[in-house]
């Protein structure tokens, strides 16, 4: 999944729908590309946390390429120390983790 622009209280519903549809297809490990995301607020973070909660026992949500400000925010709210999430610098690193079959949180 690729997100672009700003994920805020106005746009987070679209992200939620995209994630919902991926979960409905039975995916247990999801990658969300944040490379083109300039900004995320508590609305977007809530979607991430709610996704993480649902994947916690079976897989994880991979967050790819957050910019320094977004990464700092993810750190502040505890995403970096939460086993339901994995953060990757780029898609290559994320795909490498996936191909290793490292699906355990």
């Amino acid at each position: 999944m690729v997100a672009q622009g700003e994920i805020d209280h106005d746009s987070c519903g679209a992200l939620e729908e995209t994630i919902e549809s991926a979960l409905a297809q039975g995916h247990q490990t999801l990658l969300l590309d944040l490379t083109e995301v300039a900004y995320i607020d508590s609305g977007g973070l809530s979607v991430l946390f709610s996704t993480g909660r649902r994947l916690r026992d079976t897989g994880w949500l991979g967050l790819v390429g957050p910019n320094p400000s977004v990464l700092r925010l993810l750190e502040l709210v505890g995403v970096l120390v939460d086993g339901a999430f994995r953060v990757f610098p780029d898609l290559a690193a994320a795909r490498s983790a996936l191909s290793e079959g490292d699906g355990s949180p």
Partner: protein, 140 residues
Amino acid sequence: MTAGRPECEWAICVDAQTSNLSEVRRFVEQVAAETALDLERVFDLKLAVSEACANAVEHAGDDNPALEVSARLCPPRLTFVVTDNGLFRPPSLGRAAQNRGLGLPLMLTLMDEVNFVRLPGGGTEVSLSVLLDTKRARVD
């Protein structure tokens, strides 16, 4: 609050709708460009002001009342004030359970000063300030 006359003041007024949050953030960027704040502090301000506005939008109901965002540069502070005429509800009560509780903690973590005022006659004023010469909050 800081006494003294601000060096500069700015203000915008938008309808209280989430679709206007990005316009508010552009306003914050324009104001911050007048200062020497680094990019991370500008991000913090955008987030905190946008969260305060989102909170006001949530209280606004369906009639989209006006939301005023003003800024004043009064060294060493840059302060944004979000004023709405909705009903004030303490952001922490009952809503954390709905997964909506991150807005206020983020405001408190990222800003150097936060002030909530319930206005006589209804409405809420939220003041968010950064000190111009301090570094951002960090998790160590």
